[in-house]
Amino acid sequence: MSERKIRVLVAKPGLDGHDRGAKVVARALRDSGMEVIYTGLRQTPEMIAEAALQEDVDVIGLSVLSGAHMALVPRVLELLRANQQEHVKVFVGGIIPDEDIPRLMEIGVVGVYGPGTLTEDIIREIRSAILGAPTA
């Protein structure tokens, strides 16, 4: 039982109440053998960073459908750096306009997944980001 498990925090920062997408992704990651810490709705960036620290996660998936992603996501990344957790890979899902994606990637987000993304793609990209496997 010494096999390394990928630990993922799935969180919804901000005030929108649409958690279907986050739950679908959490479930898919579970089914791919990852340990998913699910924190539920209406989390502040501070709560997310604190949970990421206590749980020592490898990955954070943020789901934002409120349009506040350009405020919330940079704040989470900033707090991770402050906590010396810059190694944690951050993925963003939800309703993210195309023009915001380059900016998010620039500040350190590893992937942005809009509606219609295949869960297999998310799983493969998380694996490759963590374990360094090829993204074929």
């Binding site: 039982m1 990651l29 579970r30 791919s32 998913v36 709560m47 604190e50 620290l53 020592d56």
Partner: protein
Amino acid sequence: MSLAAQVLDGNRLALARLLTQIENNTEAGREAINELFAYTGRAHLIGVTGAPGTGKSSLVNQLARYYRDPAQGATTHTVGIVAVDPSSPFSGGAILGDRVRMRDLAGDPGVFIRSMASRGSLGGLATTTATVVQALDAAGFEVILIETVGAGQAEVDIARLAHTTLVIEAPGLGDDIQAIKAGILEIADILVINKADRPGVEITERALRGNLDLAHPNRRLMTEFTESGHHGAPVRKEQPDNNAGYGLMWSPPILRTVATEGIGIADLGSEIERHRQYLVKTGEYKRREQTRLASELELMLQASLVRRWRSTIPDDLYQQVLEQLVDRSLSPWQAVQVLLAGDLSI
């Protein structure tokens, strides 16, 4: 600075990383625990178990709030929380959702919450939960709340780990409550009927009380481990009751709570404290520590012996024996004998 030294220094990131090393059973984790073990044994370990959906996580949330800010005059305590949820038997993955109910605790540096997946262990905890608890203990958390997976009948490992075990029930589990109780009621030091604002709470309480009255309020699980080795059967130690108010036997109280509203939590907190004092005054506290450490040692010894022995057995012999087992030319017992002898010709 070593990982262990950083943990002792109060570094939360180091603690989180150590817990991962422990969960993954790494050499680094074992080394750190070797250093930290001398600092353990100070925390009050409180187990919280019960069927899925009875409100364990919400109750843990409220208890943690209580310890951080107790009723008049009582001292505050720092709180470590270990919440175990099941791993999928198929994918090995898990959804660890206990934090959803613990959002009140965010931002408090006196609280540290760690979610764990059971990783195939069936007793309601993960195999590394005891060690994770030791790390939190060494890190200085004074009260450690350990939440098991949603438990039915046989998930009783928690009683061996915790000093005080709470079994959480809820109204409306109906007549089959009798069935649920058989295993898990025995390990309760305190019974909690959560969601007590729901209809049927009297029926649940009557059923629980009836069952307790039938049962011998004994430390059954614990005696089995401490004393059967010497005498073959559990032996009751008769001691004069010279502590007024602390009888020889602890009879589990039944409490009502509504965790989402914070109702009944202060009473629960004082019953937990009363139980702790009972354990200390009767010497049971030490006895439980001994029992727990003995059974931990036993398990680790077994695992180490098997690993060491296994490394001396050639893989081809093992495969041969396995094949013969599969085609029924050896029985399982014969296979064991062949492997222990290291020779197929016996």
